[in-house]
Symmetry: C3
Subunit: 508 residues, 3 copies
């Protein structure tokens, strides 16, 4: 059996554990909103039509922020459509998802729902088909004190207090040719700068997120970030990263090592940011505001086929269709846990992140219309990480055997991160075994933290890595107790089966 | 007497006779709509206010498509102004034609009129002063199934079924400094690509026409097409060509050879398209969506004088003024016929064309308010060509004497094209004698087609090439029977007087 | 005592004294409109709420044009907000000045006020956050004859006659990063050209002003003008210059020589205009449409501090706050007088100018709410110049001692300009003594004009150069009679104390 040793020291701090790293994302897409968080006829629906069973799971998941209302959706969206008396709201075509948007849920309902569930709202302005003036209007409607016509409309619509949204996305994936109103880096950089500057004239304390590349495989990746930041640097505070991971064929080993790709992606964007900002006192951080496991190649192939079949078979315009409702396997959950380790280790530069998405659409929570809501396999590593981590992220020294992958070559079989809450006197160790065949014996030397006993120890692992949860078997994949011993030498000892993820909290 | 021989072979096919080659154009300009197709008080007006006498001539003309609502007009147009209850529609200034637009006729009335007369509607979106979102709105209003607010407005406005417009112009003549909102090739190419991509997200089966040059004399001709297509290639299906021809001074010979110019224009655009698309599987065709004879230099001089006289004499803002109501001469009709020959011969690349315009404004049909409608001289070659051609266009080998022109040097005195409808067993030969003094003896060897007898034979020729039609003499210029013999050898023999055009149909 | 001699000849004409050189500026900012020209509850308020005491001073000041409604304000402004029934007008946030705009005063009220006081209106269109179509709408609403929906709205709003605004600003200071919707020179030049071309299609007699640099210290100064003019040349008639002058520390000498800076600024823009227009028959003149003395560095420091304090201390959104209500000193008045001399001397190229602003905001007129209105020190040189000059500006030959300045080195102690109204047989001599210690003995040889007697002679000078006017002492700084002798030799003789400005009119 292979041995892994991990050492930490409390003085070797990377950064605080930003709570915004545990953000999520609700797009007007598929059954994310309608039939997801919102279903008026549902037995658990509250007086506003939001499902209480879903809200309970959202709170249990521990998400901190929620990005809204898109995603690609936002680039064709008029925010005004979603406010005011429901019976007067228009029904619209959404060309991003070829769907019907009823506008039953809009800014005010969603903000109230987010607030009720302790979520910070992260709003996106439409820079695909709208501009500066509409962004200013939305900002005034959202955050303005009563006394102006737009703010008074919000009050009349049932929100007497400003929503006080502090973090805003300047459009969405504007580098993507699929984006409605897609722009060149030059044109987007200019538009983002103009919009951001105007918004900051209204409120200089806003935190504004410029669109980075839609993924690291975009042909413009790198030059996009450079150009956009060169044009908007002084006006923006974060730049976005998006990444989705999937298993190609039966190459589980490479899939498990997805964190390597995320690591490299982050490093590349950091290098670009540092290059552009080399002579500036201003700081721009990273917002990894779309990340998850997603069998995207299946989706892309289906969409291309639907487009190719047109006009012989006109594509339908459904409302709230079943869209990319991936069932997550135990192996997917291990990867999600592993990616959280990667994100935490980059907390010095990554100040916000959003698991995409929250409900039904490639989501940790799934629902049936009129029926139950349940936790997907990926729910668990996220919930454990959000609940158990805190304080600061510590730099770890890891000595681990390697495991082969087709895509990345030899990678460290075990990856880990440790957070340390000095005030509470607790530390949390997150570990992943990316090996597909060998268990890993791990020793984590926590002696420098004065750790004396294990508080909690959870293992995410199924012998059948393809196991999934469902309405019928909602708890097929769930954490198991982990045998983790903390010796008097302050060393935590445990064994990770192959394809597993673990979270262990210790106290002083 | 000079002899011309023409040979054809059925296997030497250029392309199908696209019905869209016989398109027309109705712009909100002058008396094209108001007092043209539409005149509520007229004795022949139907219950919607459209003149039945004009509609009868439109159907007789045989036009297939109708481009609408502009033209330069569209670049300042809000389509919403033209829909809904008439009494609520705004009266607007149209700065393109310095006229008043009452909006009595808009999308729904015009679409109903086009449908009633068997015309396919070709709509233009405004890219001079509007953008992507408005184009999507118009598309949804026009083609959307009931169930969204915009489509339901159309239903409420009396059009329960989608208008199902398949071919759309992405703005109009955006290269022209006269165009409201004129753009550089780079900016227009970007805007056209963004708009087209968004429209195709809604409906990938649409056929979209990018603006090419306003004419082949534009200083940016060639580079405009290249730049626009490089930026929009994958999203557009056709690129437009516009050309107007006129007789300069007494140089009738060069005027008659206008087809040479059109030939060269088409070849140049084809070369540009092929260059840009050299590595692509996607095809971009040509839409010659404005062509005609027009004494444009008179119009331009008058407009410049009016502008120069301002502000001493403020230019008026008339509604439906008499604007460029050219009287067409017999010689003009011969040129129109000749240009149709040219267009048909390029049917492999030119997939659509629009005679500009349909009624009153440089048009084959003229009207008097409260009075008659009549056919201009140019009506006849168009109507004959649209009615008699079909099947496929055949490549011809022509051996003809030449005739001198000041502008083009020696040109072939006779030009011709042959279409062949194998199913019907009929062929149609179109011929023009561009010589100004000599008749032409023509032999067309149709033996390979198995032609046995002449079905119809029409000659367009007046000894007075200046002869025109008018309300008082509506048939002064009209086709005459042509003595055309088809011998047992399958050879068609006829004599074309100078400045004449002929159409002969033969059967098996 | 130092001697200065000035010689003029009637044939050496620079240009007519354009009345538009005595323009002003009213921005929706601070208490310029609200509590300035307009204060419904004020004892002197007319039936429309405008203060009669202020209007009286405006007429006395002799301003000819008034630029409106901004300034930075215009770049976030929707003109529609300011027209129609007051109770339906929206209350808006103005992000340019972080203020609330009630829209109680809008286009129609202001135009009526301007007309009543003999002022020509100079309107600005919003090119920061709006575009061509909105500019055309505003033009139609403002100048259109009744009969279109927009013009009829104006009629319904109480303005039956077109406002007939002839001179329009194409946005405001679009080169400034502070400007809402700030653009690059390329993008602004394109937008200005598109907007101007469209406006001139509606009315070719309009005079359109493109934005030049916000000041001569902008890093893009020069290249901005060149690029903007290269893109818009044929469509624009004037290019703007803005400059504010202030005393740095105790360097009064350099401050008094501010005209040197203005001279150089004008010369540089003239050179740029001449370069761009080298091959054109079209002329582009200069519009110096913001100029004044302003202690701007104090304002900038305060604004930066307020922004830096956010979000800890959210910036307030006041309505009509006290904003840059500088108290002007006697020395400031001398500089204003001196700058008027400079402007007049450049009347061959500078065809319009606007003192910025008119009331309360860095203004010659100040008010107290419910209380008095009074003339600031700078009121006087402006009023005298506007009243006494006329006819043409003559070129002068000046031989004067020099005076040292830290910023400009040695400058001529005395600057002067002479205007000559041949018809009236009167001439006016404006003189400034920029020396800080020495009086100047001046001889102006007017013999060539046939001058025989002094009509008026005014001296602006206080021993205490820091003296200011106030509500309590509204006439502390005011012109004094000047002992000026016109000898039989036609030579005008007078003595200017240090830091003084004088205006002398003579008759034949």
């Amino acid at each position: 059996m292979r041995r892994t040793s991990v050492t930490v020291a409390p003085q070797d701090t990377i950064a605080p554990v930003h709570r915004r790293l545990f953000g999520s994302f609700v797009e007007h897409m598929g059954r994310s909103v309608y039939g997801g968080i919102y279903e008026p006829g549902h037995p658990t629906a509250d007086e506003h039509g939001f499902r209480r069973d879903v809200a309970d799971l959202v709170r249990e998941l521990g998400v901190t922020t929620v990005r809204y209302p898109g995603g690609n959706f936002v680039s064709g969206y008029r925010w005004e459509d979603g406010v005011g008396p429901r019976e007067q709201r228009p029904v619209r075509r959404d060309v991003a998802w070829h769907s019907i948007e009823t506008n039953e849920v809009g800014l005010d309902e969603f903000a109230a729902w987010a607030r009720a569930n302790g979520l910070e709202l992260m709003l996106a302005v439409n820079l695909g088909t709208r501009g500066v003036l509409e962004a200013l209007d939305l900002l005034e409607y959202t955050n303005g004190e009563a006394g102006t016509t737009l703010a008074d409309q919000r009050v009349a619509n049932g929100a007497p207090e400003p929503h006080d949204v502090r973090i805003w996305c300047l459009g969405n994936e504007m580098d993507g040719p699929w984006q409605v109103g897609h722009l060149s880096a030059e044109d987007y950089g200019t538009l983002a700068a103009r919009t951001a500057a105007a918004m900051k004239r209204a409120d200089s304390g806003l935190e504004l997120v410029a669109c980075g590349s839609s993924n690291a495989q975009m042909p413009t990746f790198g030059s996009w970030e450079r150009t956009v930041l060169e044009r908007s640097w002084e006006h923006v505070d974060l730049i976005s990263l998006h990444a989705y991971y999937e298993q190609r064929g039966d190459d589980l080993a490479s899939f498990l090592a997805s964190g390597r790709d995320m690591d490299h992606f982050i490093d590349t964007v950091v290098a670009t940011v540092d290059y552009v900002g080399r002579d500036s006192d201003h700081q721009v951080h990273l917002s990894f505001d779309e990340w998850n496991v997603w069998r995207q190649s299946e989706f892309n192939a289906a969409e291309q086929a639907a487009i190719a079949a047109e006009p012989a078979v006109p594509r339908p315009w459904p409302a709230a269709p079943h869209l990319i409702e991936d069932d997550y396997r135990a192996a997917d959950a291990v990867v999600v846990g592993s990616l959280l380790i990667t994100l935490l280790r980059h907390a010095d530069r990554v100040h916000a992140a959003s698991l995409a998405q929250l409900v039904n659409v490639i989501a940790p929570i799934r629902t049936e219309p009129g029926g139950p809501a349940w936790r997907q396999a990926t729910f668990h590593p996220f919930a454990l990480t959000a609940r158990l981590t805190g304080g600061v992220v510590l730099r770890t020294r890891t000595d681990a055997p390697s495991t082969p992958t087709a895509r990345f070559g030899e990678v460290s079989a075990v990856d880990s991160v440790v957070t340390w809450d000095e005030e509470q006197g607790t530390a949390t160790v997150l570990l992943v075994n990316r090996g597909t065949t060998e268990p890993a014996t791990v020793e984590v030397d926590l002696s420098a933290l004065g750790a004396s006993h294990v508080l909690e120890a959870h293992l995410l692992h199924e012998d059948d890595v393809e196991a999934t949860n469902s309405a019928a078997a909602p708890d097929r994949v769930a954490p198991h107790p982990l045998a983790a011993e903390l010796g008097p030498d302050g060393v935590l000892r445990l064994v990770l089966p192959p394809v597993s993820w673990a979270a262990v909290s210790v106290g002083r």
